[in-house]
């Protein structure tokens, strides 16, 4: 249990959002000496020995966290699994489409964070995963992204925020 919670803490602090489960299970030493930065004093705290439990933590503001996450990068997705190993066909479809356009993006795995999983649904008033955000704006899920990809609308949306899709027609670049 503490292993899963520590994995959650790592995801929460924004580092290694692609944390693969295997490395979590094998690197117990890393987990037991998690380094965090105190936001107020900028001191580095080294938490050793005792895994932290939810009851001793300050209440988490998931909505604010999500607001920060979607602002961090031009393209942000919430998915099941990680881009290297999606755990859902719909999430995989989103990953593959973004790969075709050669877009760099942040990906957040809702399967390792139950609060995030529910929180992202509340945040966008959208009931399913995956969810795609461009410049902080919710774009849609797998169906919508696929449709936009097929109609060329995705290339346009990316161009609007300054991302050049790998699939952009050379003639369109002059527009």
């Amino acid at each position: 249990m503490s292993v899963a919670r520590s994995a959650f803490r790592m995801a929460k602090f924004g580092r290694s959002t692609y944390l693969p489960m295997t490395s979590v299970l094998t690197s117990r030493i890393t987990i037991n000496s998690l380094q965090t930065k105190d936001p107020l004093s900028n001191k580095i705290n080294i938490e050793t020995q005792q895994p932290r439990y939810f009851s001793s933590e300050a209440p988490r503001d998931v909505q604010k966290e999500i607001g920060d996450l979607v602002a961090k990068n031009k393209v942000v997705i919430f998915m099941k699994g990680v881009p290297e190993a999606p755990q859902c066909g719909f999430s995989n479809a989103v990953v593959q489409i973004l790969r075709m356009h050669a877009v760099t993006y942040d990906a957040h795995n809702v399967l390792v964070d139950e609060e995030l999983r529910q929180g992202i649904k509340d945040f966008s008033s959208w009931p399913t995963i995956p969810q795609v955000y461009i410049e902080g704006e919710f774009i849609g899920g797998c169906d919508i992204l696929l449709q936009m990809h097929q109609t060329g609308e995705l290339i346009e949306e990316l161009q609007k925020v300054g991302i050049k899709s790998a699939l952009m027609d050379p003639e369109d670049e002059k527009k």
Partner: protein
């Protein structure tokens, strides 16, 4: 034309029937297809957790895809917050449908839930 997937004994599941009723009542579709895709995923047999819906309705006129999906999500709010876990929506206006818009096959399950 209303099409509802039925199992071997010709019965549509309860959730599928509710979905059909709600979408018919609220969106007055000219064409409606409700496909239970739970069998494609790692859930027990006879589950009603993953659906694909094809809805052709005038209510979608002048609405962008996201707005159309939100409309459908809203109609099925209750189902989506209880058992239904994934919903693939294909929403067209009658004009788009007549022009021959294609419905894509849903991607394969990759194990997670």
């Amino acid at each position: 034309v209303n099409l509802l997937t039925r199992n071997m004994s010709g019965m549509a599941g309860p959730v599928a029937s509710i979905i059909e009723r709600k979408l018919t009542d609220m969106l007055k579709p000219s064409h409606l297809q409700i496909i239970n895709e739970s069998y494609m995923h790692s859930v027990p047999k006879n589950s009603e957790t993953h659906f694909k819906v094809v809805v052709v309705s005038e209510s979608f006129t002048d609405k962008k895809p996201l707005a159309r999906h939100r409309l459908v999500n809203d109609v099925l709010k209750e189902e989506l917050s209880s058992g239904v876990h994934a919903l693939s929506i294909n929403a067209f206006t009658p004009e788009q449908w007549d022009k021959g818009r294609q419905v894509d096959k849903s991607p394969n399950c990759m194990g997670g839930f």
